[in-house]
């Protein structure tokens, strides 16, 4: 439904987006995830037609839309600030995009406000609404003209944490129900993992990895992705032997089995594993606890293994200074 090829955009000497390619299938929610300043909003604005790329193409439903002005693209855009028209009522805000189309405006406005749970708020002005309600109006306004693609620019970032989580689930349900194709820009990994069918991790204007959330979490391709999504142990080492999908990585003089990933024999790699993949009380390695943090149902431990930092979660109550045996139940070699 939406495809971009080789986008590059510079602002002065700053390269915001470089050789960026991505495709979003019809009905798919794709999250564009990255730290602030990585160029994700620029991509969104190029897709919306609010910025012009220096090079590269934007395709909408197979047609080259690179040179189309925003009003011809048929994309809905939800702004971070919502950008509700302060001089118009809720109903007039939602109806704004309908004035450029035929059909029953009033009915459609009612339908959309019902969809986002704001029936009865038609006559209110934006400033009379709570932040969460404003967010819903912005969503309804963007959906009203039946866009082919919905673009969302950090739509939940202005809300407080609890509300954000509620709206996240609601948004997911709503987009799924409508079968909407959506590009969702966020810097919040939790939001991306919870909402998206696929997540594209961006860094400094480029894509690091595109994958479904579970894959991204379990099988990051780069150390950046590994660290950006959740907590990670990354130990420097070297692949000493390869057997099919498996590799043996030598770390601090010890040999540890791992998934091979994209590495070859002899590569300098990071041995990557999540804290919850560490099994305490088994195996041949020992580590010493440096600090322990009680999380309620389990402990998060920071420990040292041959001088390397080790983060893990466990149900065992271990105190700083304790040593314990552990095994890594699953690990992945990531090229450095």
């Amino acid at each position: 439904m939406l495809e971009v090829r080789g986008l590059t955009k510079r602002f002065g000497s700053i390269v915001a987006v470089e050789d960026f390619s991505l495709a979003v299938a019809a009905g798919e929610i794709l999250a564009l995830l990255g730290p602030s300043g990585c160029g994700k909003t620029t991509v969104l604005r190029i897709v919306a037609g609010l910025e012009r790329p220096d090079s590269g193409r934007v395709l909408l439903a197979g047609q080259d839309a690179t040179d189309w002005p925003p009003e011809r693209r048929g994309v809905g855009l939800v702004f971070q600030s919502y950008a509700l028209f302060p001089h118009l009522s809720v109903a007039a805000n939602v109806a704004y995009g309908l004035r450029f189309k035929g059909g029953d405006r009033k009915g459609r406005v009612g339908e959309l406000l019902a969809l986002v749970g704001l029936s009865g708020f038609e006559r209110r002005k934006p400033h009379q609404l709570s932040a969460g309600q404003q967010q819903r109006v912005a969503l309804a306004r963007a959906l009203a003209p039946e866009p082919r693609v919905l673009l969302l620019d950090e739509p939940l970032s202005a809300l407080d944490a609890a509300l954000r989580k509620d709206l996240r689930a609601e948004l997911r349900g709503l987009l799924g129900k409508l079968g909407m194709t959506a590009l969702y820009v966020t810097h919040d990994q939790g939001e991306a993992l919870a909402l998206a069918d696929r997540v594209a991790v961006m860094r400094e204007g480029r894509i690091e990895q595109v994958a479904p959330p579970a894959d991204l979490y379990a099988r990051p391709r780069t150390p950046f992705v590994a660290q950006f999504l959740g907590r990670a142990n990354l130990w420097p080492g070297r692949v000493v032997s390869v057997d099919g999908d498996r590799a043996i990585v030598e770390v601090a003089g010890e040999r540890i089995a791992a998934e091979r990933g994209e590495c070859r024999d002899g590569d300098e790699v990071f041995l990557f594993f999540r804290p919850e993949w560490v099994e305490v009380g088994e195996g041949t390695f020992t580590a010493e606890v440096e600090s322990a943090e009680y999380l309620g149902d389990r402990w998060e431990l920071r420990a040292r293994f041959h001088g390397l930092p080790l983060v893990l979660v466990t149900a065992h109550n271990l105190r700083p200074g304790n040593t314990f045996p552990f095994a890594v139940s699953s690990a992945l070699a990531i090229r450095r």
Binding site: A48, G49, L50, R52, A65, D67, W68, P69, P70, E71, R72, R73, G74, V75, G76, L77, F79, Q80, S81, A83, F85, P86, H87, Y96, G97, R99, F100, K101, R141, A142, A144, P145, L151
Partner: protein
């Protein structure tokens, strides 16, 4: 998708056309005419030469014009300081009922058309004016004790009337922003109040005082109708000289052009100096403290009654002339006592031909309204398009070009258009158009100044949201941007209208047979000693300008309040009346290329303290 997609290049072209429109207008109505002035003053037989300038400079009359201009400007600045500093101090230091009102009142002199002030001075300070009559009656004198009219002092006093409130606002703003702790420190270190004032407070206020002085000096240098009406040909400034050479009995366009170039150079130098100084001065500003105030009326400090020695004469100087105009407009003079009448108001609406103004009073009112309406409409269109261009293209060069008319005084502008309307293409238009164009050029920079901060404070996502929802750029502007700027645009329009109504300088340069506006009519009534008619027209004019200034003020503060969250240029509520987009000088050409009369604003002090800050904002 609806319809065939338009090419982006088409939008680029539309954007370029948008920038070309104001450039084209300024080219035809401003730069080309100005070029005519330069050629006339600097070319002899097609050769560039300084002969005409030299000839002008060696003329004793011209030398006297220049010397007088600088002399009266310096004296005016000093008197403004003398009258204004205590007022600023008073407003800062004391709490008393009506303090806010008094502070708001300091804007009043500034928005008054200066011909009405000149009229007020004649009526109040004249030989048989109210003040002399009062003093003669009280003191039992046979001769009027005060004889200032048609002297240097009349000009200086009228300039002080205008500019003392400016100084007061500067001082008040700087003082309120000054950190009070250094003074407290000085007191704990053993300094007595007076010593602390001279060693700590005054040095801290010095930048603001110097800024205000420089500003007032520039304003008075470029002043026109005050010296014209109160000084006559003998006490004329360079600006008046340009007018006399262009429109007087011994008309000489080349000499007028040479003088125009001199005054242009003078104003550019002064502006540069002020900018340079303003930058230096404001570097030290930026405190946040609010000076503590004390109640004015307490039994324990009877010494504060000393303030009456200042406040009473000040009130006489400021309120007397205005009151005299209003009073005279309702009085029928007769030997043995005046009687109330509406005769003068009936007269200024009369369609009968009046030989003194070479038109009928009603026609003058009508012309003023038509010219004002035309200039308002044009300046709004021009102001909006210039604002739009400057939002897109952040170029200092382009900004200087698009705001250039600010740097040229009304007299020079008038001369340029006078010359331009004698040749194609502008000669195809009628004489009234010259005045409309002049007023447009005078007013639109203020429209730009009013609109740009509002526009900048507007979330850029709003028009973008409209675009994404299917609106074309024009529709997005009309349905989203314009309504959100709405109040600001209306206020700017009201202000533009008031400014045009009161403007006399360009009209004096450009008026012709049958083209007579209200300020010019007042000037001629004044010349023919027809004080009743002059007063009635001046009262109407003052009322209209005051109303427009008030509307501008209200709308301004309301708009800034509403968009407050995003407007970092928001002035504090207390100073809102003046700070909002700074209405410029009297509805008349007395100040051109003039700075805002506002004191330094807390948040935008750097640009507010300088007359041409907009070039550098």
């Amino acid at each position: 998708m609806a319809g065939p997609p338009r090419r982006l290049t088409g939008r680029r072209a539309a954007g370029a056309a948008l920038a070309l429109l104001p450039l084209l207008f300024l080219g035809v109505a401003f730069f080309w005419p100005l070029w005519d002035v330069l050629r006339l003053g600097l070319q002899v037989d097609g050769r560039w030469t300084g002969e005409r300038l030299q000839a002008a400079l060696s003329d004793p009359y011209v030398r006297r014009l220049i010397l007088f201009t600088l002399e009266q400007a310096a004296l005016s600045a000093l008197l403004s300081l003398l009258l204004g500093f205590p007022l600023g101090w008073f407003l800062t230091r004391y709490r008393f009922p009506g303090r806010g009102l008094l502070r708001a009142f300091t804007i009043v002199p500034f928005v008054l058309p200066s011909i009405t002030v000149a009229l007020g001075f004649v009526l109040f300070f004249g030989r048989s004016g109210y003040l002399n009559r009062f003093l003669m009656a009280v003191l039992g004198l046979g001769e009027p004790p005060i004889q200032v009219l048609y002297t240097l002092w009349a000009v200086v006093l009228a300039h002080a009337f205008y500019n003392a409130p400016v100084v007061a606002r500067f001082v008040n703003a700087a003082w309120e922003r000054a950190d009070p702790t250094p003074v407290e420190a000085a007191r704990t270190l053993g300094a007595r109040p007076l010593r602390a004032f001279f060693t700590v407070t005054l040095p801290l206020l010095l930048p603001a005082v110097l800024s205000a002085l420089a500003l007032v000096f520039v304003l008075c240098t470029l002043s026109f109708s005050i010296p014209l009406a109160l000084g006559g040909a003998r006490y004329a400034t360079v600006e008046v000289g340009v007018y006399l050479y262009a429109r007087g009995v011994v008309a000489s366009f080349p000499r007028a052009a040479a003088l125009a170039i001199l005054t242009l150079g003078l104003s550019l130098v002064l502006t540069y100096l002020h900018l340079w100084g303003g930058g230096t001065f404001s570097a030290r500003q930026g405190g946040v403290g609010l000076a503590p105030t004390v109640p004015l009326f307490t039994r324990s400090r009877p010494s504060r009654a000393l303030w009456l020695l200042y406040l009473l004469p000040a009130a006489v100087v400021f309120l007397g002339p205005i009151a005299a105009v209003i009073a005279d407009s309702f009085l029928h003079p007769a030997p043995g006592g005046a009687s109330p009448t509406l005769h003068w108001y009936r007269m200024i609406l009369s369609p009968a031909w009046n030989p003194f103004i070479e038109s009928s009073p009603l026609a003058a009112v009508r012309t003023s309204l038509v010219v004002g309406g035309g200039a308002t409409a044009l300046s709004l269109v021009l102001g909006l398009s210039v604002s739009a261009v400057l939002r897109r293209v952040r170029s200092r060069v382009l900004e200087t070009v698009l705001m250039a008319p600010l740097a040229v005084s009304s007299v020079v502008l008038g001369l340029a258009l006078l010359l331009a309307f004698r040749r194609p293409p502008l000669s195809a238009l009628g004489g009234g158009w010259a005045i409309v164009l002049a007023h447009t050029l005078i007013v639109y920079p203020f429209v730009v100044r009013a609109i740009r901060p509002l526009w900048d404070a507007l979330d850029p996502a709003l028009p973008e949201a409209a675009r994404a929802l299917g609106a074309s750029p024009f529709i997005a502007f009309r349905t989203v941007t314009l309504p959100l700027l709405g109040g600001g645009v209306l206020a700017a329009g009201a202000f533009a209208f008031a400014l045009s109504l009161g403007e006399m300088t360009a009209v004096a340069m450009l008026s012709g047979p049958g083209v007579m506006t209200m300020p010019m009519a007042i000037y001629h009534f004044l010349g023919s000693r027809d004080f009743g008619a002059a007063s009635a027209m001046a009262t109407v004019l003052m009322g209209t300008t005051a109303l427009a200034a008030w509307a501008w003020d209200r709308a301004g503060s309301r708009w800034l309040k509403r968009d407050g969250a995003s407007a970092d240029s928001r002035p504090p509520a207390e100073n809102a009346p003046l700070s909002f987009a700074s209405p410029p000088g009297g509805g008349e050409g007395r100040v051109r290329g003039n700075p805002p009369p506002s004191g330094p604003k807390p948040s935008t002090s750097r640009s507010a303290a300088r007359p041409f800050g907009r070039f550098h904002a």
